[in-house]
């Protein structure tokens, strides 16, 4: 019984690490840059497939890929914000109008990235083996790559939190999240900061993709389901709250694993149920104001 519980809880935490990374990225993009990025999951796909190509074709260690994939995806995200979302926000009459039009634009992006990925890598499932040796944790058995994944997810999450709280740039980001106009008046280069946030958000998804590809088979069409999970986690943690998203990721991971244990076919339905209930009862989430 104890082993079973441990099995479920640790399994949930392992999945939760990836959820937390994805959700932190989305939270950054929506909370600061005000773009509810439906194409968020596509950056996971990009990260995962780049890692797969690097590993199978060039034999590059997936953990080393983090350093290659991260900057690459950051630049894509940064440029996207400088071009697409910048001009959308210039022409939008209000914040609500910008949120609506950028949501639709990211839906277009979803199809662009996904279909380029299908054309480039095919629609089939891909996988490679890395660090697949079993590890025994108090009787519950997990493969080593999943534990490494969790370690990296927590490390990246904490590093990012310290960056937000301790550095000048982090302070600028927090200021921009609270009130972009005033932050701009206080000498924050607001366009630069918003683009940076969007880029960092994409980077988080890219990291999640690298880690994900180490443990699970990947597909060019897998992005949307993780975007949806990210949205649920972000609402659970409170829209715009970075720590909320981090904690929310682990909560959803555990809930997911509990439901999967009881009735696997209801896992996704349970996610949506929680999501809809949250929106109706407490739309500000657990850490929201």
């Amino acid at each position: 019984m104890l082993v079973k519980t441990l099995d479920i809880v640790i399994g949930g935490l392992l999945m939760g690490g990836i959820y937390a990374l994805i959700a932190m990225g989305l939270s950054l993009q929506y909370g600061v840059a005000r773009v509810l990025n439906i194409a968020h999951g596509e950056f996971i796909t990009l990260g995962a497939f780049t890692t797969w190509v690097l590993y199978t074709a060039f034999g590059i260690n997936p953990l080393l890929s983090l350093v290659i994939v991260g900057p690459l995806i950051f630049i894509i995200g940064f440029l996207l914000h400088r071009t697409l979302f910048r001009s959308l926000s210039k022409s939008a009459p209000s914040l609500a109008a910008f949120e609506g039009s950028s949501l639709l634009a990211t839906f277009g992006l979803l199809y662009i990235i996904q279909n380029i990925a299908i054309i480039a890598w095919g629609a089939a499932s891909r996988a490679y083996t890395y660090l697949a040796s079993p590890v025994n944790l108090w009787g519950a058995i997990f493969s080593a790559n999943r534990l490494v994944t969790l370690g990296f997810a927590v490390g990246i999450g904490l590093a990012f939190y310290i960056f937000l709280v301790r550095t000048r740039l982090g302070k600028a980001i927090r200021a921009a999240a609270q009130d972009p106009t005033t932050a701009g008046l206080m000498g924050v280069n607001i366009n630069q900061v918003l683009a940076l946030c969007f880029g960092l958000g994409a980077l988080m998804a890219g990291f999640a993709g690298v880690l994900y590809s180490m443990c699970f088979p990947i597909q060019a069409t897998m992005g949307l389901q993780y975007t949806v999970i990210a949205i649920i986690v972000v609402v659970l943690g409170g829209l715009g709250s970075i720590p909320g998203s981090f904690i929310g990721g682990f909560i959803l991971g555990i809930i997911g694993n509990v439901v999967t244990y009881k009735e696997p076919s209801l896992t996704v339905a349970a996610f949506y149920f929680i999501f809809i209930l949250l929106l109706l009862v407490r739309p500000t989430g657990i850490m929201g104001k």
Partner: protein
Amino acid sequence: MDIARVTSKRSFLLGLLGLILVLLATLPLYAAGYTPILMTSIFMYIILTVSWTLFSGPTGYMSLAPAAFFGVGIYAAAILGKYVPLPVFIVAGGLASFIVALLVGALTLRLRGIYFAIFTFGLVMLIMQLLVFWELHVMGIRGRFVVVIHYNTIYYAMLIIFVVLMLTVYFIKRSKFGLALQSIGENEEAAAHAGVNVTMVKVITFAVSAFFMGAAGATIATRWTYIDPYIAFNVLFSFLPVLMAIFGGMGQLYGPVIGAAIFAYLQEKLVTTFSELYMLIFGIVLVVAILYMPDGLVGLIPRLWRRRAGGQRANT
């Protein structure tokens, strides 16, 4: 402008509309086979788009629920198709969607902005997942067959739904109800203070638009013949109407019609042969349309016209 010219312009427009309607009604007589089938799906997209615009256009609430209402209609046809004739299950599909929309609307229309959009999106997925579970684990089936009906009959059914929808939209726009709806979009609080029963107007419009989506779903299901939750509640049917409406332009009644017609035609022509390429182009067009055509295709014409007129003035 004098009255005679206004009335003559008006009767010309009415005559043109009448002619188009006659041409459409007699279509199966002179263009048999593929053309009515193609027109049926074009009309389906037009119905989805126009009814989406009916609610989301004036109020500014971005609903991503069309796939839910469309799917409810499809399931109504799948369940009732064997027992009752076509018109009955089309109306039943519409009414089922109407009732679902009433419930959903009463529950959720207090959510604003992005919350409403993501809620309606979640709703589609929740219904789909629950249905998948129900079919697989409770009933032990995977998908259903829908009764087969001749394509000309389906074409006429779709045409009738389209005409009724256009009349409904036209009369709502001209009525006090339409004015109230417009005022909600401009400033909801002010509308409430001016004596508009904001909740009722929103919920009823939401439900009316859902009725037509459900009816279209019940009709098209008979052409698809096999359905399962993934087909019926495909979330693409939530996004396509939004895209088509934006592409066509929501400022005019005919904007969404034109946008939907062009897109549906391209979809039917391209999706079977170049599926990935079509979806890629779809994404690019969506981004470009949002960036450069905020008023859509129909908004582009007066803009070009003005530029030309301005150029002429500059020359003199």
